[in-house]
Symmetry: C2
Subunit: 222 residues, 2 copies
């Protein structure tokens, strides 16, 4: 029974890694689509997100099946419940990437990235991609040091998020309302993407070390 | 054993109702705080949200304890897993109410509600409050007709959300960037609040009727 359970857990882990890989592709393409107003790439993100949603549903069914058949208790039970939560967060990360990609579709043929914020959003995008790659690695290796790296990257995203609002609310901002709306939404999506990664990292860290850090309320930065 | 399980489920249900009641208070006060730039009321929402977070964590622990001790299978297992998801969505609804309340804190002593959108946001707030009340009732009675009402209210919220962007991106918009930012964020928070309620309503409906509607990707409306 123990061996069957370990095999089931590996299956869950492999699937979480697979979804995280797809989320990484989504945010890479979303960043590319948003930066270059590339509508074809945006369509790929949307198609990829349907796949992520499907895999998340299948993973949830697998986890429920493991609960029903193998009736894990104690730490094993918490691992399976955490997998359900991690899959929900990965699914939301895919949604955030899709929202970023969709901004470029809405504004086409205009640029979605507001003038004066190109460097900021390029950096936010780079950080979100880096976070997604690290998250995939964390799910694969469960090395808790990677969780700390993700937290550091998230701090940088939060700073950039705050700087977007400083810029948009500052005296030098010459953006039209559409640029202000896009900056606000894009910044929020990038920040939420990173938040979900931190939330997953905390769960993995907990499972690896046993230190439970309850989910904190997400602060708003602006 | 069956009787113990039924009693546990009633406990879970009572706690979900309790959290939904607190979420209702949060959105009522958030709407009041946002509409009247009332910072004292905003502080109450923030305090209330800490309580919601705490109750959600306790509910999750109870659900995990039920899984471990009573090892439910089939429909019973899905009910307990759904409770975990419903508590996560309620927790997020509390966060959205908190975000709305915080907008009035950031702008104080200025008004947070942008000029020209007072009626729209009053109506969005009214709908979100109505949705929260109906959701509490749905969790209490599990009457699937209430789920349909929530869905209808959410359609109205989505329309208002789209109308905010039409207004802000239209030729007649005279708002400063700060008004554009606030309109964008406030509209998004109100819309997400309603989305989470629909997501919960679907789960309750599924549990009541057995018809499973997989979680759809959340569309962006603007």
């Amino acid at each position: 029974m123990r061996e069957v359970f370990q095999q089931s857990l590996r299956e869950v882990q492999d699937r979480l890694v697979e979804i995280a890989e797809l989320v990484t592709i989504s945010i890479e393409k979303a960043t590319q689509s948003f930066g270059n107003s590339d509508v074809a790439v945006a369509e790929e993100v949307i198609a990829n997100d349907n796949r992520i949603d499907q895999l998340a549903i299948e993973l949830d069914e697998l986890a429920i099946d493991i609960l029903a058949r193998q009736q894990p208790v104690a730490r094993d039970l918490r691992i399976v419940v955490s997998a359900l939560r991690i899959s929900a967060s990965l699914e939301r990360m895919g949604d955030m990437a899709e929202h970023i990609a969709q901004l470029s579709r809405y504004r086409f043929p205009d640029k979605a990235v507001p003038k004066g914020l190109r460097t900021t959003f390029a950096e936010m995008g780079r950080l979100d991609v880096s976070i997604a790659r690290k998250l995939t690695e964390l799910l694969r290796t469960q090395d808790p040091r990677i969780a700390d790296e993700i937290r550091n990257d998230d701090d940088d995203v939060d700073e950039l998020h705050a700087s977007v609002f400083e810029k948009v609310l500052g005296d030098t901002w010459k953006g039209e309302p559409v640029a202000t709306v896009d900056a606000t939404l894009a910044s929020r999506y990038h920040e939420r993407f990173a938040d979900h990664a931190v939330s997953i990292a905390k769960k993995v860290q907990y499972l690896a070390t046993g230190d439970w850090i309850p989910e904190a309320t997400t602060p708003v930065h602006h």
